[in-house]
Amino acid sequence: MSKALLYDSTVCIGCKQCEQACATQNKLPYNDAIAAEQIQSDHKMTVVLTRNDKFMRRLCMNCNDPSCASVCPVGALQKTALGPVTYDASKCMGCRYCMVACPFSVPKYEWGKLVPKVQKCTMCPDRVAQGKQTACAEICPTGATKFGERDELIAEAQKRIRDNPGNYVDHIYGLDEVGGTSVLLLSAVPFETFGYRSNLSKDPMPMLTYRVLSHIPDFVPLGGMVLGGIWWITHRREEVALAEGREPLTGKSTAPKTANKNGRKA
């Protein structure tokens, strides 16, 4: 079964301990200045946003069918069965297609480094593999970020909305956005307030390109045959014409045509 995170922003108190735990877990610097930064970056994989006293976390959604993993030419990004979308910097060649493709604009790049890598939350794959919670869920003092089985967390999120309909926007973000994600969000205010796109398809994005790519194995032999066929016909026509003592059509048509052009011009 696949694991997931449920973040309930109505329970969050904005203490940012998840940010700090995330930085420690991923061996990134963390101080007051970084804590004040309100955007995800190469040194900040998760951020607690504040808008009018409302909080909202942003982190990699760890999609069920991730665009980033589908577009990566070298398979540096992978969706694991447990849920995390992992990144292998040693494979990466730095094309940054993952950054372009991500519907949540999550992957960030180490622009300042000579040997840069992509930085994004990978849902603590080592901890999850050991049966532990993610660092952010473990540290959360209020239980706003909760780690567990995706199915169970969905049921719980639905129950919370049912029990307190006035407290929530009636939507679990990540339930079926781009085919579902391993991070589920609950909010009291519209998700767009925090930059979450509301125009996302319910179908996984990778199908958009794979629909085209999957034709290639048919196209190559077919194209070869058609082109070969045309070549055979055009050259056979020429052979026949020569054998019959006519002038081949393709070869000599320039002369009269040019003459016509001249005639018209003059």
Binding site: V71, A101, G228
Partner: protein, 396 residues
Amino acid sequence: MARTKFRFTFWKLVFLFLMAAGLYATFIRFTQGLGASTHLSDQFPWGIWISFDVLCGVMLAAGGFTLTAAVHILNIKRLHSIIRPTILTAFLGYILVCAALMFDLGKPYNIWHPLIMRNPHSVMFEVAYCVMLYTTVLALEFSPIVLERFNLQKPLKVVRAILIPLVICGVILSTLHQSSLGTLYLIVPEKLYPLWYTPLLPVFFFLSAIAVGLAMTIFESSLSSKHFGLQLELPVLQELGRVLVVVLGVYAILRFEDLANRGALKLALHPGYEMYLFWLEISLCIILPLALLLQPKVRSSANGLYFAAVLVVLGFITNRMNVSITGFEGSTGVRYFPKWTELAVTGMIIAAGFALFGLAVKYLPIFSKEELPQEQLAEADSAVPNVSPVMEHAGD
């Protein structure tokens, strides 16, 4: 004579300036990284090195597959005389695209990774393979020119024996590759502005590549004939001009039908940044060239063809820039303009392209007719007197 000398020096100076600026920018790129040498950001991860150097570079090299298909597959022999410069352009184009990629990739020394780390679901993976394979095909298609120069008959025979399968491979790879540069953007329906996002992007990229292939062939033949004092193959260019009208017409109809079907046509009349650049693109690549080329007088004149070809090339460069830059500025909320270092590297790459073309023409049999079999040679000779009278008018 003195004037020619001066012009030569002027261009040499421009070349040296571009090379110096480019090399300095290269130094910054590889000693300080992408952050210091570009205006790229997390919001805007692809800039001019992808938009112009790669997307436009590949598009401008499309003459290679268009012309080889016309000459070798469709057997249109009268186009044979311009095939060598076209293959040279395509080959140089792809080499320069690869060079540009070395600047843009964060870890260029890993560029070979797709060879052993495969993800067939990735369009970028397909692009990587097509670039590698088609550059190889172009090298082989180009090789007879070098082999002839050094009179290496044995390998020449081998290459000639596999020429047709090679051309077929080249056409297939180009079709895949040109269209897949459009497919790259299919995965961002929510980010790319609806004037440019369409499920037909691969079709449009392919069709426009053919148009640009034809336009570039007209452009470089005209330029070469002026610069190297060669006979202009006007009837050949007129032929290309006629095909260009058809391709542009088909493209125009599909483009607007697609906009109408997706309900995006109203955005074309919705004043704003995107609208202006959309109409700039459409005027340059559809309206103006079609208006020009639909007049027989323009279509048959050397200058008219040249001007229309330049418009088409500029128009589709605008198109690629719009798809890859303009179309993203709205959704990311960021305006991107390249840093001087990005422009300097691009300038250096363009300058290198012109210089290498000039060197190749000087030292290799690019414009000579040695490669033609006897019958075609005779035909080519007989064609010359027909051209000259037209050429006398061409200058007017």
